[in-house]
Subunit: 496 residues, 2 copies
């Protein structure tokens, strides 16, 4: 699949000089056509070759976003929202050309309501920026995918990460959002109330839509009180199986663990080399506990018992905040550290998530397969959620072919075990066929019907989630010339 981005790029419809002049008249210095800007906005952290947009607009307000969406709808030009560019699935590649809408200048924290445990932010605010602002409030925003992504981008991909096992994903932590949909209208999903049964859940529809429905312009997020106490430890096991079985036991015991991360021996070697951690080079669980002194003690006691049952005896405690952040920084950099183990290689990373009871089977078979294929690989995982990333290190076309075969087999295994092809990275360019297989033709057809209803000209981040042509042999005729989105709709009820 890695070639598909290139192929799609060939189909790109370039913006005409007249269109570019028009955009410059409208947006002035906020629009850039420089090769450097286009190149910088044509790449992310995915496996794909760059696909630069024709122009880059640095949005500074929701009005800019409305104007850009309206212009692209009118001109039938692709619009690609862009945040920190940390996607692993090619979400921001301009595979059909068009206008890149960079939201990083919309980075104001609009409001922090400590009394309601909420923060309202613009989409370009990063999670680290938000947590820095929250520090003296005794609150934090837990979702932590590793990269210092923008919160808008995290919402668009339904991101999660190391803390999701306790605090949930972006899906559970977005209270309210604003978004601009074609032809430039602002919608609101949810409210500041903690719960609501008022109409369709537009907030949850936009979360995870990967920029294919609209552009998120404001997010109201749930905050959490900083835990009274935090304790982190690494514990080693003789085998991956033992480590995974320990994790399964922890989750099934109901211990509210805050982080439960798996590293295989290859990854431990890599982070040792990169960050000088001096961890024992064996399968490891990295654990973090949050709570009051009393509940923390209970959690640790239970987990130490469960670990011992799997032969995981030695708990290596990261006592100080500094040692904790060193540990997690190393974990977050594991992907890059692992790549450094094979100079010049690229990493093809997977993202399956399975029910916790099937995790040992999924991890075990997949690692055995990689060993048998003799390809360099590494494994890290948010195993408390049943989510893990097996990365294949690719230095040749032969290795690429092997990696893609193994990746495909891994997804088939996850689906057979009633899991998903993507726990947190999204569909993007690579997993569209897997989505079809996972959700089924009729489910994807329903998603495409929603896409067609809200973005009838298909200008919002085209080529992502669904690829043209239509997945079904039948469907509606394309919208007529000058069609407007079907705002409103037929009167409910049968025709008299």
């Amino acid at each position: 699949m890695s070639g598909s981005a290139v192929r799609m790029q060939k189909n790109a419809a370039m913006l005409t000089p007249v269109q570019l002049e028009d955009l410059q008249r409208r947006f002035g210095e906020r629009l850039s056509l420089s090769a450097a800007a286009r190149e910088a906005h044509g790449r992310d952290e995915s496996f794909y070759p760059p696909a630069p947009p024709d122009a880059v607009l640095m949005a500074e307000s929701e009005a800019d976003v409305c104007a850009a969406v309206a212009w692209c709808h009118e001109a039938r030009v692709p619009l690609i929202p862009f945040g920190a560019g940390t996607s692993l699935e090619g979400h921001v590649l301009a595979v059909q050309g068009g206008l890149c809408l960079d939201l990083t200048r919309m980075n104001s924290i609009l409001r922090i309501d400590a009394g309601d445990l909420t923060a309202t932010v613009q989409p370009g605010v990063t999670r680290e920026q938000l947590n820095t602002a929250l520090r003296d409030q005794g609150l934090f925003f837990p979702i932590d995918p590793g990269a210092n992504a923008t919160l808008g981008g995290m919402a668009a991909t339904r991101a999660s990460g190391t803390n999701a096992v306790r605090y949930g994903t972006l899906r559970e932590n977005v209270l309210m959002l604003r978004a601009v949909l074609p032809p430039g209208r602002v919608i609101q999903g949810g409210s500041r109330a903690k719960k609501s049964s008022a109409g369709y859940d537009l907030a949850r529809l936009l979360v995870g839509s990967e920029g294919t429905l609209g552009v998120i312009t404001e997010l109201t997020l749930k905050l959490h009180p900083l835990p009274e106490q935090v304790a982190a430890a690494s514990v080693q096991f003789a085998s991956i199986d033992a480590a995974v079985n320990c994790c399964i036991a922890i989750i099934q015991s109901g211990v509210p663990i805050a982080r439960c991360e798996l590293l295989d021996a290859h990854t431990v070697r890599a982070v040792n080399a990169a960050d000088g951690l001096g961890l024992v080079e064996a399968p490891l669980l990295l654990l973090e506990f949050h709570g009051s002194p009393g509940s923390l003690r209970e959690q640790v006691d239970t987990v130490q018992l469960l670990a011992a049952e799997q032969g995981g005896h030695r708990f290596d405690w990261a006592e100080s905040p500094e040692s904790r952040s060193r540990l997690w920084r190393a974990r977050h950099r594991a992907y890059w550290s692992a790549k450094q183990m094979k100079p010049g290689c690229r990493a093809l990373t997977t993202d399956v998530c399975v029910p916790i009871s099937r995790l040992a089977e999924c991890v075990g078979e997949s690692l055995a397969e990689a060993e048998a294929a003799g390809i360099d690989h590494f494994l890290v995982g948010h195993v408390g959620d049943g989510n893990f990333h097996l990365g294949y290190l690719v230095g040749s076309d032969a290795e690429l072919a092997t990696a893609e075969r193994l990746s495909a087999q891994l997804v088939q295994r996850a689906l057979r075990l009633e899991g998903t092809c993507t726990g947190e990275h999204g569909i993007g360019l690579h997993k569209q066929a897997y989505l079809l297989q996972e959700a089924g033709e009729d489910s994807v057809a329903a998603m495409r019907a929603i896409k067609a209803a809200l973005d009838p000209r298909g200008v919002m981040n085209p080529g992502k989630v669904f690829s043209a042509p239509s997945l079904r042999p039948f469907g509606p005729s394309p919208p007529p010339e000058g069609a407007r989105p079907p705002w409103g709709g037929p009167a409910a009820g049968p025709t008299p």
Copy 2:
């Protein structure tokens, strides 16, 4: 608004004798035309006069549901899904006539995965039925709206209730669902994996759609381990303000309280009379704590401190499971107990939810208004979520006019305080204008565009959530004769 159901009923398009014969040929004894069956399926627990359907189909399988949806789509006849009939917003009233689809025979618990903390059920399973089946597994399903509703109905209205403050609503506790959409296709939302970023969140779109998009035929729900210890207590306060401020302090302290319910003095009098509880007739908080012995002690200590600061000294502990269930049964029957205080009255109940920091203001002003108007009323609330139900007891047209005025003012207040017009009951028939005001015209237009895309003939529970005619002065022309739903959709990307 209470007359609107009647008015809409007058517009009902009756099924023709030929259509009824056709249905009987297809479904045999599962179809009933009896006045008794129609009458029983034309009412719920809302304020509205009955609106019976033309026929009632007792669905026994997903195949029955597919056939019914296909038939209604083809014949352009309204289809109204029906569960326990406990809606408070008229969701099941056949205000435009049509076919009622009773799902209570689809009441099998298909699967319990203790290892994954999930259960898969048919839509007609009730929450009590599920919890009975779970008892010997050490697990439970926490969402508890009071009524023994079907889980399908609870999902369709995004129900919550007393435990939501700790365990979330149906929205957070549905892992996966199957649903039948026009013209009779089965979609799947989510997977058994704990999290997923695979495509649009169809599960969350169906949850809360009130039967206007499709019929839910299967739910995979999150389960929770039975708490090691449970403690419940009632604590009285000198004023509603003190009780509400205590609740606010509890939530802001981050104590993971399992239930935090408010009863005003009127309600306490009512439940005393109905259930002989002998509670002190003052504003009360009913509290429940779940956890290990250690964490429970910490929670109780903190809450007793916070209550004392508001003058709430005496904690009346319900020690035994029996006394606890008596307490909660009384709480759940408060609505009916309150009605008994005024023989022959009807209760117009409200359902606003506001950010916790604005709760005291919203409750205080609303009660003062009711007192000033001199109308009998009662207040119960899931105040830990900022959600409360102020009920007005109506015995005359004059009182009805007063109640409707106060209800409208209460919603305006909640919206001004950045809350929602419905925390858990849904929009149904009554709150459509409030939805428009709360979400905005463009947001509701987007919802209607989704409705039109997935149910182009408007046969799914018409007249609920959105009322005809179109809310906008413009919109697409109604679907042409013989139109099919736009499964598939235009190719993404601009037209070359």
